[in-house]
Point group: C3
Chain length 343, copies 3
């Protein structure tokens, strides 16, 4: 893919300032850009890089006035960061634009595949499964019997969707993630062994969800584990059976949500957080990395931290004093002694 400054200007509705015929074939940060790269300058604190960069084209604000000589061709636009984001997205859309069915792949005769889909080699589409239009199902992916996938989804290599799960449209799932494995439910027996409780529910993932690599979302015992619209999950996350993650909630890597817990909308949850089962977390809650949430959060929109968690400000204070505990104990002993001596 190679573009001239002129083509970039037309694409971004911007003005070209410099050689309109210079070409670029990659996108790069201004401090790392080489010849043939296109970069951007949005934050004035990076301006000095503009006078040193080898980038062939730099996107700048429409009113930007350089204070020194610039070698790159400038493309002037209203919002350089947004303009650059558009280019990033176009770049990836072109780059990852796979279509067609590679062989060998396994599509059960009773499965239905939408138009313009990509089915990679060694992908498996089970009996009665439905895959919507424009989906990209990368190699070695598994879509179990009667699973349903909407339109415009991308499942990277090795994603596993168990039978009966339902995935919305524009859902992206990264390599190795597992959707619909059995919930962890066992009934203790008199002899110390455990009997498995069959897990016959499913997982429902609504539209516009993105899930990172090697995460696992268990199916419900009965009913559904539900990931609501717009949720973003990072890598290596555990969502247990019958949990529900609210609309537009974002969860960072290695966090675990236990069985039947309900996380509200618009929450922001850090990495390595643990959330116990059968609780609810209020809308807009922000939970710091490595926290342990062991009871329901009722108040909306608050910040929390610690194990067991409390308000963010309280934790910050307590943690500071924790580090001074040896001092505190020493003072207490001195006081005891002083009191004994003097009284």
């Amino acid at each position: 893919m190679q573009f001239t400054a002129q083509q970039i200007g037309i694409l971004l509705n911007g003005n070209v300032d410099g050689n309109p015929d210079v070409t670029v074939n990659e996108l790069a940060k201004i401090e790392e850009a080489g010849t043939g790269s296109l970069s951007f300058l949005a934050n004035p604190k990076y301006e000095s890089f503009l006078y040193q960069t080898n980038a062939s084209i730099v996107i700048v604000g429409e009113d930007f006035v350089p204070s020194s000589e610039v070698n790159a061709t400038l493309v002037r636009v209203k919002d350089p960061y947004s303009a650059f984001s558009i280019l990033l997205e176009k770049y990836n859309t072109i780059k990852l634009n796979k279509v067609g069915i590679e062989q060998p792949s396994f599509v059960h005769p009773s499965a239905r595949i939408g138009k313009d889909a990509y089915i990679g080699a060694f992908a498996y589409i089970g009996a009665g499964a439905i895959v919507g239009d424009n989906c990209k199902i990368y190699p070695q992916t598994y879509i179990g019997d009667n699973a349903e996938v909407g339109d415009d989804c991308t499942f990277f290599p090795g994603v596993k969707i168990y039978h009966d799960c339902k995935i919305g449209s524009r859902v992206v799932i990264h390599a190795g993630s597992v959707i619909g494995s059995d919930g962890f439910g066992f009934a203790p027996q008199a002899d110390g062994s455990y009997n498995k409780i069959s897990q016959i529910g499913n997982v429902i993932i609504e539209d516009d969800v993105e899930i990172g690599a090697n995460s696992s979302i268990d199916r419900a015992t009965m009913g559904s584990t539900i990931i609501r619209q717009g949720v973003k999950l990072d890598n290596l996350i555990q969502i247990a059976h019958n949990a529900e993650i609210g609309k537009n909630t974002v969860i960072a890597a290695q966090t675990g949500v236990s069985g039947s817990s309900k996380i509200g909308e618009q929450c922001i949850i850090g990495g390595q957080v643990g959330i116990v089962g059968h609780i609810s977390v209020a809308k807009g809650s922000q939970i710091q990395a490595q926290s342990g949430v062991n009871r329901s959060i009722e108040e909306e929109g608050k910040k929390w931290a610690g194990t067991p968690f409390s308000s963010y400000t309280n934790q910050m204070r307590a943690q500071v004093i924790f580090n001074r505990l040896p001092d505190l104990e020493r003072k207490l002993e001195q006081l005891e002694k002083a009191l004994k001596d003097k009284l």
Copy 2:
């Protein structure tokens, strides 16, 4: 799968009370059940749902007397919850009853596959490997050279069993789990680099073990990493080389057990727990989620919590005071001042 109330009654050895010809094709919770669903009522506190439910059949206790009108056909049995569990299991057994060898799959000429096995497409069975009777090996699963798998096992899609590992009977492993990867052993060198210590042992998994999705169990350096009979492991768990997990021990998601540690029988270990290497944990220990176990636990049957861990009751008390540390420090300062002023 469609059943009449009469068929359900015969299956569960129960009495049909209402229309015996009404049919059901799914199982559901009583509060969520629609027409065509079979549900159950075991706990009296859910009785009101019985008078509102759209379920076509509800299993109830043999002596249950409704206090209001019921639309559903009732099936009366001794223990409604157990009866329903039996149906859940039968449902899943029928649903997941796959048999036969899908193509393309790879079975080495020297491998042996038992009777009535299911080998999914893109599964790989290596040289000298043995797979027992009635096993279900889902698509994209890997069973390495000379690995042995007993009877009645289910490996969901993408399970990876390395060479020489030995798996018992009735073992269930969920998608993406890895059995037999190299232990993490490296010898530091004078120049700061590390030399790999070859890991030539294996993993032994005994009968009736269940392992969740995306967990990893490393092979021993020499000898075996051992998962004893009846152990249940959740998702994203790490078991390091030469560890041993005792009979009927249950471990929740995202917990890690370090190298050469031995966990006793009948332990219950929460999620995100870390257990250091070369220690032992006594039989029947219960360890709270997110704990850090940094030394052996000698006493059997106790509850533990915290990082580093101590007795559960001690931790609970200390954690409460931790949250009051700012108060505690203020009091101490006031005391200091008071003492100075007054003496």
Copy 3:
């Protein structure tokens, strides 16, 4: 594989003491060894096992004098542990010496495969990808378009390398690990939803790196996430976009490194550690398991622990007092009372 004591003696440049024709076909610890096993005695505290072992051959120090009768044939060498390590490595090299291209596999016509490579069944090598000489690419592995892999690499079953990633030579990656999944980058929108920031960078893994099972390393937004030479990563580790892990650094299982953080050379990082984004960790830092690193570490070569972390010795002291907090509070209350009473 079967070897005589004489062959072992020649291989290790050692002297055979006993029957030179006895044969061995496996390696074992001296306390577990049976007939046909080769073992070693390096640590004098295990000497008593030598007089009980069923091992057929035991490697001992060149000057070792037994104090009792020995049944095994001895092979005397300068350094028994090193000699045994060499045998371990040879054993594995012979055992895992796969070569050739199994079918069905998918190698794009524009991909280049080096000489003497092993490509397992159901492996996928994308358009423009390069795989070096002597690589072992196990079944169900994915190497995306234009990815580059050096010589002598081993990727175990189900490894996923996304497009454009660059892997050095002698790199080992265990089953299920994902290299190059999208960084977790989303721009919040006015309506509460998030827009994906396209991730067009890649992952660079230098020579001699080993990565465990089911780990994930995200590609950079732009530029590269970099794993430097000689790094060893355990299982279930998360490395976020644009992070950099310094030369010869070792990280234990289930640890997470957040976006854009730079870990120095020769660090030793325990399991389940969390490291926040946009910080740097100095060369030679040692970080205890389950720590939370929430700011940069500037001093080189120090030990750290705790969440939030502080110096190892300070944490150890504070943690001891934490467990005594109920006592401390009681004392404080007594002091308060005493002061009130007496003054």
